[in-house]
Amino acid sequence: MPSQKARQQITKMPETIQAAQEQKRRQKVYEQLVAEKKPKPPYVRNFLAAFVTGGTICLLGQGVLSFFVRRGMDNVAATAPTLTVMILLGIVLTAFGVYDELAEFAGAGAAVPITGFANTIAASAIDFKHEGWVLGMGAKMFIIAGPVIVYGVLSGVFAAFVKLITKL
């Protein structure tokens, strides 16, 4: 003979399940409503803005690369100083508050080039300095660039390892 309490629970149970199902149903309906009302981003305009800005940054990069090649470096040796110059450019533009304005226009066109990567480091450094030079700027400088380095190293070393053992 189940206790009074247990019997009450039997009759209670479907109610809570129903309530949960009702909540799920509402969420689904609302999700559809939101999707229906949500304004579409201007895909073409955004793509073009990113394309032109990103392309221009790469064009600049090509100029820097050619400069180092003309100075007598080979193509591989010239990559490191080219990246350095681009990173410096990103930091300078960030310091003068230009880069986030550029990104507001260009989106990924400003974020994806290495200048954008430098911006994530400089912006975090500038922004978190008020929380202290050690625990603020020092600790949080890589708050966005950190994951890029972590997953870059993980996947890069992994890919190189696979390539190495398949060659051996």
Partner: protein
């Protein structure tokens, strides 16, 4: 010609990034990581080098190039000195850029405040 190719290829990579941002709810951080990982995998398997040769800065400047440089450093060192090179070589080509970024970001932090 090299300039035009750099513009077109670099622009296309950035445009693709923007499409991903617009079509999904991924944050820019996620897209950066995604592109770096793609570049690193392509670099490690040796697909990125021909691409780099063709597109120049158009392949080097986007973060895909950063990922590829990590993988390339790892691979070249490993081929030279064995497995330990996988790790010693990881920052072979990117270390300089990272050091520059850290150094000059710190300097920027000393002299500048956030605006707008």
């Amino acid at each position: 010609m090299a300039y035009l190719i750099a513009f077109l290829i670099g622009g296309t990579i950035c445009g693709l990034g923007q499409l991903i941002l617009d079509l999904t709810t991924l944050s820019p951080g996620h897209v950066l990581v995604m592109f770096t990982v793609l570049g690193a995998l392509a670099g490690g398997f040796g697909i990125y080098q021909p691409f780099l040769k063709f597109a120049g800065a158009g392949a080097l400047v986007p973060v895909t190039g950063f990922g590829a440089s990590i993988a390339k450093g790892s691979l070249l060192e490993a081929q030279r000195i064995g497995f330990i090179g996988l790790f010693t070589g990881a920052f072979e080509f990117t270390g300089q850029g990272l050091a520059v970024a850290v150094f000059f970001s710190a300097i920027a932090a000393i002299f500048f405040n956030p605006r707008s």
